[in-house]
Each structure stands twice: as C-alpha cells, then as structure tokens.
Symmetry: C2
Subunit: 671 residues, 2 copies
C-alpha cells in the first residue's frame, strides 16, 4: 500500500462531506475568538520554544523547565504583540499543556480577587495580574482531601502582635498535591483552621503567605517545600505539584483573606454573611471544566476519525483495497457519539459561562440566591463531563487499534493529563451525593407543595399527575412526537427517568442500594443536559443556516439517543419503553435508530471534526495529521527515538552478550 | 493524625477477619507453586538488580538497560540456584515487569517448538531454551494488523538456490510493534506471504531469520531495524518494540517453519492437513491472559483495599476520627467486585490451562476436533478478562482518591502496562465477532437438530422448550432456588440472557444494530464463566474447608450477582426479571442483595487480599504497604524525586526570574 493512498482517501472523504467548516469554526469558537485564535496559533506553532517533537523523550525535570520556558516566552509574546489578558488566556488554551502557571491563573488570582479584600488587592492585585509574583493554592493535605473541615493546618491568631501563626502539627497536615508549589511559586493562599485566642476553632479560612524569597527564590524560614514526585501514566509531568510544612510561621493580620470573614484586632471572629459566599472559585473551576472537557474530547475525536478514515483493514473490496475501518459499525458506533459529546459540552460550557457571570454579579452584591442551584448543576456536570471525557478518550484510543498504544498517536497523552479530573475539584463519587441531596430537597419541596421548581429540577414536574398543565404538555408532546428522530422523544424519556429515579430514591431514603446515588445523579444530570441540548438544537438554524443545521441537528440527536441508550437499565426498570418480553427486545428500535443516524452522519464525520479547527501542531498526533499521511508521519517519528541513536545498544556488552554466551555454553553450542 | 493510627487500623482490620490466609495462598497458587514462589521471591526482593526505588525516575533507555540487566541476572540466578525452567518462568511472573525476553518466551520459543519441524528444532531447540539466541516474532506490519491475509511482506521461493527471498515492498510492509526487535533479538520468526515459482500466492507462512550478528550484534545486511518509540502513558517502556524492513534478504529453504506446510525443492506447495493447525500459539497466549489478568487485578485490589482501610475521610465519629473510606457503600461497592473478579479469573485460568494441555496433546496427533470450541472460548474470555481488568484497574485507581494519581500509588503503572491487552492478540471488537459467529453456528445447528451442544453453547438448551429434560431441570432449579443468595439463580439468569440474545441476533441476522455483537459476545461469555464459577463454588469445601469456603462462596456469588447487574439491560429487555412498571424497580432486590453480600464480605476484605500473597516489593505501592503505614511511605518516596535535588530549580535564573522582573516592571512595583 502506498502512502499517497492515505492522502487520497482523506481528500475523497472531505469531498463527500457537505458541511461548511468555516461556519463550524465560528459556531464553536465564536467569531471574535476564532479570529484571535488563528492569529495566536500561527505565532505559537512556528516558535521553537513551543516545539513538540522532543516532548515524548524528555524527563520530568526537562519537561518542567520546558514548561517554564514556554510560560516566560508566552508572556514575552504578550508584551511584544500587545495581547490583552483575554488573548493571553486564549494563548494558554491553544497551548493546552498542563503548566505550573495554571494554578496561578485558575485558583490563586481569582481567590485573591474575590476574597482577598481591598487591602490585599491594592497591594498585590497588579503584581498578580502581571506575574510579578507567582502563586499557588494550598488546600489539600497528605491526610485530608474532600472534607476541608478536617484539615489539620492551623492559623492561630496572636492579638499581642496582630499576627497569625501558621502551623502543620503532624506529617499528615503537610499540604500535598499543590500545583506550582514544588519549585515555582513565590506566594500561596493557604487554607488553615482559624484558632481564636479563646481557643475556639472557627474552621477553615484562607491566608496569603509568601513562600520563597523574591531575591533569590530560596524557601523562607520555617517552611519546608518539595515536589511530590511523578504522577501516574506520566500525566501532568511538567507541573511541580508540591508539598509544604509550616513550622510556626507568622504572618501579619492583613494577610487573612477577609472579604467575607475576619478577625478583630482583639481576636473576635467576624462571621461571613453567608456560609457559602466563598464557594464561587470552586464553582468557576467546575463550570469551566465543561467546555474544556468538550475540547479535550474534540481532539481525541479528530485524531480517531481521521485515522479511521485512512486506515484500511479487513476483507478486500472490488478495488483490491481493504475497507476503511470507519465504515465498520463497531467503529463508527464508537466514534460518532464521541464527536457528539464534544459538540454538546462545548455549547453547554458557553451557556454555563454566561450563567456563571450572572451568579458572580449577584454574589458580589451579597446575594446568594442563585448559589444552591449553580452548585447542584455544576457538581452534576463536573461528574458527567469528566467521566464521559475519560471514557471517550480511552474509547478513541482503542479505536486506533494497536497504533493507539504508541505515544505518537497522542491520545494516551491526552488521557494521562485528563484522567485526574475524576478525582480533583471534588471526587466524582462525593459530588454525586451533593446532586442527590439537591434533587431530594426539590422532591421534598414538591411533595410539600412548597415553591416553584428550579431549572435543574424541572423534570420533577412529570411526577405531578394532577397538574393539568403538565398533562396537556405531555399530550401535545406525544402528538408532536416523530419517534426517535425527534429530539423531544429522548428529552422526555430522560426527564421521566430522572423523575422516577428521584422518586424511587426518596422512597428508599433510609436504605438506598450501594450504587443508587451514582445512578440518580447521572439521571438528573442527563435530564438537565437533554433540555439544554434541545434548546441548542432550536437555535441551530440561526447559528449556521438551514443546510448545516440539518447535519448538526442529527449530531445533537445522536447525543440524546446514546444518552437514552446508556440509561436503558433505569428506563427499562421503570417500564418507560413499553412492554418487555420474550417476543423481542423493546430497545431494538432505539438501537436501530442510533445506527441509522450514525450512517447518515458518517459522510460528514471528517468535516465535523475539521470544524474544531485544530492544527497539526496542536494535535501533535502522527495518526491525526490533517492530510492523512499517517504511516510516513509515524515512521519518521520513530526515527527520533533516543534508543535508535546507535546501532548497538550500550546494554549489549554488559547484558546481552553474557546472556548469549551463557546460553550457548549451556546448550553446548558455539555459533 | 498520626501514622501509628494507620498501622493500628490495619492491625484491627486483620484481627476482624476470619479467613485463613495460608489456606488462600495454597488455594490460589497451588501448594508446590506457593512454596517455590516464597523461595524465589525472597531471593529477588533483596537483590539490588531488582530494586524498584529508582524506577519511576528512569528514562526509556535506562529502563531498557535495567530490563536487560534483570533478565541476565535472572538467568544467572537460575544457573546458580539450579532452578528448573518452570522455576525460571515463575521468577519472571513474580518479577511481573514487561521485558524484551517475554517475546522469546511467549511467542518465539513456542512457535519454533510446535511448527518449526525436526530440522530447525534439532539445530536451534537447545539454543533457544538456554537463550543462546534471542528471538522475536515478526507478524504485525505498519499498515496491517488483524487481517494477516493482507500482510505485504513476501517470501519468494527460488528453486535454483533452494532459498526464500524475504522482501518488504512498501513502507507499510514494515514489520511494526515487534517486541524485542528494536535493540535485542538476534533472530526472528517472520510472517510473510509465500510466493511460489509459479507466481501463486500461498498466503502467510512463517520463516526463521537471523537478524543480528552473533559476533558483534550488528544488523545483518539487507535488514533495517529500529525501535518504534515510546508507548502511550509510559507503558511497556522497557520493551524495545521495533520495526524491520527486508530488502531481498535470502534464507535457506530449511528456515521455513515446516511442521504443517512446506515447499518441495522444485517449488510445489505442500498443504497443511488442517487450515487451523497453526492456531495453537495464539490460543495459548490468549488462554494464559485469563489468569494473568486475574493476578493483575489482584494487585490493584490489594493496594486499593489496604489504602481504603487506613484512609479516613468524611464526618468524624464518636472517637473523633473520620470514617475509614472502605466503610462507604460507594467505595466497597466498587472494590469488592474487583476482588471477586481476581478470584474468578485466577481459578478460571487454571481450568483453562488444563483444557489447553488436552488440546495440545490432541493437536500434536493431528486431531483438530477441539480447536473450534477452544477458539470460541478463548476469544470470548480474552475480551471479557481484558476489558474487565482494564476497567477494574482504573476503578481501583480512582478509589484511591487524589493520591491514586501519584506514580507511587502503583496502580497507574499497572494500567499503562496492561491497557494494550484490549487491542493486542486480537482486537476485542474483532474477537467479539468470532464469538458471535460460533454462537450463531451452534444456534443454527440446534434449530436444525444437528449434533450435541458444546460446553460453550450449553446455555442454548434453554431455548428448546419441548426438551423435557431441560424443563425438568428448570423446574428443579426453580424449586431449589433460594433467591439471590443461591448462585444458581444468577447462573440460570445469565444463561437465559445468553440464549435470548443469540436467538435475537439470529432473528436479525441481516440487520443487527451496531453494538449487538459486543452485547451478544459478552452475554455468551458471561454465561460460560457463570457455569464455571458455579463448579468452582461446588469444589470450595474440598479446597479450603467449610469455614473459609463459606466466605469464598460469598465472594464468588458476588461475582455472579454483579455480572447480572452489568447485564441488566439485556435481562430487562427480555423481561427475565419479572414485571417492570412505575410501581417500583424490579432490579432493586438484586442491588439490595449485592449490598448485603458486600457488607458481609467487608470484614474479610483485608485477608482476602492478603491471600494473594504479594510482598511490598512486588506491589511497589506506597498506598498498598502491608503494615498500612501509607503516609510515611508516600512522604519518603517524594523525597527521592530528582526535582528535589536542589533547593532552587535550574529554571529559576533562566525563566522564573525574568518572568517576575517583567511582571514587577509592568505592575510598576519592585518588591
């Protein structure tokens, strides 16, 4: 087989597709951002500092130094090209590599801004914005994660000197996993239990602490700092996640983050107006995980769809060529739903960013009314997006067959960097319980007839049988229903499933089975997403025009149908899909509809993935190259492996030759 | 919290458990092997060549050389301690690291022995056995995997000189992914299409080829060899998977592996007596994957159960301590089924080894009657075990919470080395189709009334309504049925599900939905395993005595119930679990039974995992240490990170300081 065949196949595939890639770029990125993206990407891609060809061969220490070099260079470019802060953020997103600076950007800077209070912000705000100091966020401890109330680090207020004394009383109190702490950060925000002069424990609060000298970067007295070592599967290698122990380190009173809570000079505690006012930062990180999860899936989907288009395997057709693997049902049935997830999460993330801005405006005015709703929504979405994306990345990798296990395929790297998303920013299993708690609260209010349903609990309206409006709506829906091809069919089913699951969970409030909370949380979030998707679908024509909207509508419907498919156990358990019986499988019509949709979408797959707009430099995958020239690219990449530098391995004289000589002696043969 | 608390918790947990660990060792390993294992492990664990403390920090080149050193040392120890070949194999299994030599052992040696014919074996048999030459097995090509008929490498017979000419006509014909080829092997078995003097293509055959000089290890003329580069997630780093291209390389006629097929001096093809006689090797590798998958799961289960026993998180109890995380339903519901999988696959693997020995004896007598059955069984089991184990490893890693993402936790390394099992030795999605084909064939024979059902298709008997014997059996079973606590309930349900799935698949023979083959394959294999498990359960009392049998019986039943749970979509689709309806969830009784079983097993979890008998050196996990001293071990491990060698990173002057100075300048502040 020749390599030009690959490129020919790719051209043919693009020729068969009808969607307008440019329209997709703008739909997915927004017009302004897509233009900025093009401009910035072309600068980064040709700058040698951002070269990726040696990346697979570097040690952690080398990767860490490369990350610093890239960060410094990016800020240099920002100054040179007069990029706005927004442009610089976009540049980091385009770079899309885990870097120490991200903790400064995602945690340190926002928490100082929102909770630091005027004094700290006046003193440090500009320095933080321009990276005149580099921050980290010290929460998790070696022995403590999810339950911040149990953190062991203390900040004891000393009225005599108006200072706090930070202390790590035990080994397990060591701050641990703190990004950028190991070798980089000059400052940090430390979460510690506030101990008042009365001896009372006021619980966890935040304190601004300098960690390293701004003269020579030496660790300040009383602090022990280090890197916690390599991560699983080589993930996050360039980030210096670190540990720190404090031995009675004193900081001035002004360094408590005091926008909401505080201490008087005498040591009286000043309560925050609302216990959850400080949750904004965490909600921001969780809500931004929706679109970033979508973009990560998008990369894997692009790589897998491109490779499956040019890879030929199996029986030969009339043209003497084996089939393109993407034409096998077992392959496209895995890849097209992944493509749909990316489109869903990207659009959903945009909606969420808007909701979050509204929340923030209300919060800064001391209004916390939107908090519980936003909290429940983002918790459920964080679980859904992170578990879906982790699964999708591995599904995409396996769809590459054997070559998917090559580092040059690029999907393994995406996986290793993404997989901690299941446990960071709230362990998914813990968040599930929060989603269930909110759903049960809404269910309880509904049964007590108290208050209106919030959007995240709207599905519960289906439980109110006597509600005439709901009845009418259901009948109208049933009438309008055009089978599985109509998105409303799936949306309604997913909402009914959520309603029944929550009702069942309430019924067994005291003795749920061991996996029930996971299933209820999933059902509730699936229903929420389904409603959002149906709204996105309604807006498509306005977004991309009639022709492309027809294609995207199918893609979003595929998401809905596969969500129903993955929820079939619940749906069948509650008899929501008609009669089951030995006469046949009632889920078959759904599965046949999914297959049909996939077949209709198949010719559009290449351009739908082109629509994300990734360059070859961004994907950095031998199997995902735009022109389809996968085998030559893979072959060339292999030549750069350090083991290939010499014809004979240094291990030959030391180990191989003695082994061969021993073997020949024992076999009584000398060759 | 103090570290002694961890050790205290571990002691208490062991004290609460009733099972006899020593009996479990012998049940799982067999008496002779357990004794040998103890002896060999103690030698390896204290030998510095097998030290693992630097492993997380080594480059691929260093890991490759370490692998060679370990291999050479192991053969040195074999000679020194007069280990049998069986002992040496056991030593490699205890070492349990991917090594180049494994391809010699698992592929090269067996294929020469079974298919090499007398001449090759006389000349090379002893050399191969004693590693006087080192082999590799060259099948997969850059452009070709599953479909060996499409391989491009040719071996053209030249009658004039009685030679074969090996040739790689294109880039995509390059052999690729070949273990030990990159830098190690001296010889290889090459799969190439045999071209006869007539020009006829006789399809793929095997040829023995010397690759490197035995004098100086240089690559022989006409051959281009190299390493294919790093693997995803750092997996298989120490193995030199390689590529090779042949430029008209000539080998004597005797180097064709000719036990079954051959060529006359004149170039006439000599057909093999049975087309599938050469399948033995692949079946051997696949069947050995059952127990090795079980032992891999066992390691992850041991680590996760130990850590979850000492990790405390959540609300504090009366003793002022947070709860042990293993007591949370969402944790034990994930970990105990994994433990059960390990026990199932280990026992199943032993049965399979016995079946394979029987098959091999028949095959060497030219009798291929058992082949199709063994082929279908091992294909299904390979898919089931590899997908289960991959899922279980990641489930175990996530159950470790945030610390599970540390390389020192050890589970990420197990995952990275194991995950290619889904695509090697037959891609799981391709194998599913073979399982379905065999099931449909059996179904077809049954409906035609032809022949008896083989063990792998025994579940189909349930479709024969008029079969009086089956009726009686079903009634007797129904009578004996003691609900979910009786293993027969789950076994019967899993068999019924398989029967219905195959019948449904036959009904839609021409238009299966896109995921149907995966579901049918899983249902068929689940049923086969369930029957085997029920037989293992019957033998337990004889194996470990009444008291421990009662515990193991629960563990094996847990496997059956969770298999039913994961098959609920099919089971509900065919109405096999009674009526579904809005009145409640018919699957609840199953889930409550699973929770109940887990709660009964919970106090035994620590000793059931101790039963595998892994030493701390074997597990190499800071979170899985035997004594529970996890935090101190993790803290110590972090100190060895190379980034911690100097207080100030070399990147400070180069990158951090310029960044800080720029930021301070832009902020108009000098600190």
């Amino acid at each position: 087989m020749t390599s030009s065949r690959n490129q020919e196949d790719m051209k043919l595939a693009r020729g068969q597709s009808s969607v307008d890639t440019e329209k997709l770029h703008i739909f997915l990125w927004g017009e302004r951002e897509w233009q900025a993206r093009q401009r910035i990407e072309s600068i980064l891609a040709k700058d040698p500092v951002f070269d990726r060809s040696r990346r697979p061969f570097l040690t952690r220490t080398e990767l860490y130094h490369r990350a610093l070099a890239m960060t410094n260079r990016l800020h240099e470019l920002q100054e040179q090209h007069k990029w706005s802060a927004e442009d610089a953020n976009l540049a980091f997103r385009i770079l899309d590599e885990p870097l120490p600076i991200q903790l400064h950007m995602a945690a340190f800077e926002p928490v100082i801004r929102s909770q630091g209070g005027p004094t700290l912000n006046a003193q440090y705000g500009a320095l933080i914005a321009h990276r005149g100091i580099l921050g980290s966020y010290l929460q998790t401890e070696l022995g403590h994660g999810t339950n911040v109330a149990a953190l062991e680090t203390t900040a004891t207020y000393l009225p005599a000197t108006r200072e706090f004394e930070l202390h790590s009383p035990t080994l397990t109190a060591s701050k641990w996993w703190i990004g950028a702490l190991g070798r980089t950060a000059t400052h940090g925000v430390v979460q510690a239990r506030l101990i008042l002069p009365s001896g009372a424990d006021a619980g966890p609060h935040l304190f601004f602490v300098q960690l390293r000298s701004l003269e020579d970067h030496r660790t300040l007295p009383g602090i022990t700092i280090g890197d916690i070592g390599p991560k699983a599967m080589g993930g996050y290698a360039a980030v210096d996640n670190g540990f720190a122990r404090f031995d009675r380190v004193r900081i001035p009173k002004e360094q408590m983050l005091s926008a909401f809570a505080g201490v008087t000079d005498e040591g009286e505690y000043v309560k925050p107006p609302h216990a959850k006012l400080s949750y904004g930062g965490m909600l921001y990180i969780r809500s931004s995980m929706v679109s970033s999860g979508g973009w990560t899936i998008a990369k894997a989907a692009t790589i897998a769809i491109r490779y499956a288009t040019v890879r030929r395997q199996g029986n030969k057709g009339k043209d003497g060529l084996e089939r393109q693997v993407i034409t096998y049902p077992s392959v496209y049935h895995r890849l097209l739903p992944i493509l749909a997830h990316a489109y869903v999460f990207i659009a959903l993330g945009r909606n969420l960013t808007a909701s979050f801005a509204a929340l923030l405006a209300r919060l800064s005015a001391g209004d916390t009314a939107l908090l519980p709703e936003m909290h429940a929504t983002t918790a459920g979405l964080k679980v859904l997006v992170s578990s879906t994306a982790i699964g999708d990345l591995e599904t995409a990798r396996r769809a590459l067959g054997g070559h998917g296990f090559s580092a040059f395929a690029g999907v393994g790297r995406l996986y290793a960097d993404y997989v901690p998303a299941a446990t960071y920013e709230g362990d998914n299993f813990v968040l599930d319980q929060q989603v269930v708690r909110a759903a049960l609260k809404a269910h309880d209010a509904l049964t007590r007839g108290a208050g209106a349903l919030t959007p995240s609990a709207a599905y519960l309206r289906l439980l109110v049988a006597q509600d005439a409006e709901a009845q009418a709506e259901a009948e109208a829906e049933a009438e309008a229903k055009g089978g599985w091809g109509d998105p409303r069919t799936a949306v309604e089913l997913l909402e009914r499933r959520a309603a029944h699951m929550v009702q069942e969970r309430a019924r067994h409030a005291r003795d749920p089975d061991a996996s029930m909370d996971q299933r209820v949380s999933r059902a509730v979030t699936d229903a929420f997403v389904a409603v959002q998707v149906s709204e996105i679908v309604r807006g498509l024509e306005g977004d991309v025009g009639e022709k492309d909207a027809a294609v995207l509508r199918k893609l979003y419907t595929l998401h809905l149908l596969t969500a129903v498919e993955s929820g079939l156990v619940d749906i069948l358990s509650f008899g929501l899909l008609g009669e089951a019986g030995p006469g046949g499988d009632p889920s078959r019509s759904l599965r046949v509809a999914i297959k049909g949709l996939c077949e209709e979408l198949l010719p559009e797959a290449i351009r739908l993935s082109d629509g994300f707009g990734f360059s070859d430099w961004e994907l950095d995958s031998a199997l995902g190259v735009y022109d389809g020239n996968v085998y030559e690219t893979l072959y060339k990449a292999a030549q750069s492996e350090p083991l290939n530098k010499s014809e004979i391995s240094a291990g030959y004289e030391l180990h191989i030759r003695p082994m061969l000589e021993r073997g020949q002696r024992l076999a009584g043969a000398k060759l």
